[in-house]
């Protein structure tokens, strides 16, 4: 049994992917699948909680949830996509200081329509971020 894995960036929408295998003896066989990249994860309502997937890890079937949740405290008026615009960054502790555990910083972006969208973030609470 042979296997091959690759990681590719696919656009939002339906993506038809074909893998072709050649045995160098004149036989070329292929198989195709459809991978749908869903462009919405934030829906209308209040108290919407979104867990954007981690962009550093290739998504496989059933493993799309990330580790950090974003809570919209206001009303979400139009659905859209919420994501982390920048990967978590670990910053060094100030000189002479020592952190118990290094903090993670996230930039959160969304295309959803919500009140007070430009209000400053965030109140980190363990692995949860709250959008006012």
């Amino acid at each position: 049994m042979n296997g091959q894995s690759v990681a590719v960036r696919l656009p939002i929408g339906v993506n038809a992917v074909t893998v072709t295998v050649d045995d160098a003896h004149g036989h070329v066989v292929s198989d195709s699948i459809e991978i749908t990249v869903v462009g919405e994860n934030t829906f209308t309502g209040s108290g919407e909680i979104v867990t954007p997937p981690d962009d550093n890890i290739p998504s496989l079937a059933g493993t799309t949830a990330g580790r950090v949740s974003v809570t919209f405290l206001g009303q979400v008026l139009a659905p859209g996509l919420t994501w982390f615009a920048r990967a978590p960054t670990r910053l060094a502790a100030p000189s002479g200081k020592q952190l118990g555990s290094a903090p993670l910083y996230y930039d959160v972006a969304t295309t959803s329509g919500c009140r007070r969208r430009r209000a400053p973030l965030l109140r980190p609470e363990r692995d949860e971020l709250r959008v006012p």
């Binding site: 993506n15 003896h25 699948i33 890890i57």
Partner: protein, 94 residues
């Protein structure tokens, strides 16, 4: 494979494999030319084709407006144990 060969006076036949293509060579005694009829990809007699499985369709959530980083995995098996070469291609529709 349907082959339409029109020769005035064919006198000899031979087959050959060059690279990955197979061909039928026919000699014409009237104009003293040898013509090659392409028979398509060459296969080794007795060699079995491999099988490949790309898995089932699935969905992922975009990680940004640019889409998502997606992991693709395929398995293949060759009954003759031939080394296999993988190639990926795709097209997208919004």
């Amino acid at each position: 494979m349907a082959v339409d060969a029109r020769l005035a006076s064919p006198v000899g036949l031979s087959t050959a494999v060059r690279g990955r293509r197979s061909g039928l060579y026919v000699a014409d005694s009237q104009d003293h030319r040898v013509r090659r009829i392409d028979l398509g990809p060459a296969t080794v007699a007795g060699n079995q084709p491999p099988t490949v499985d790309a898995g089932a369709d699935y969905s992922v959530t975009a990680t940004s407006p640019a889409g998502a980083l997606v992991g693709l995995y395929a398995t293949a098996q060759d009954p003759d144990g031939d080394p296999l070469t993988f190639a990926w291609s795709g097209r997208s529709e919004r």
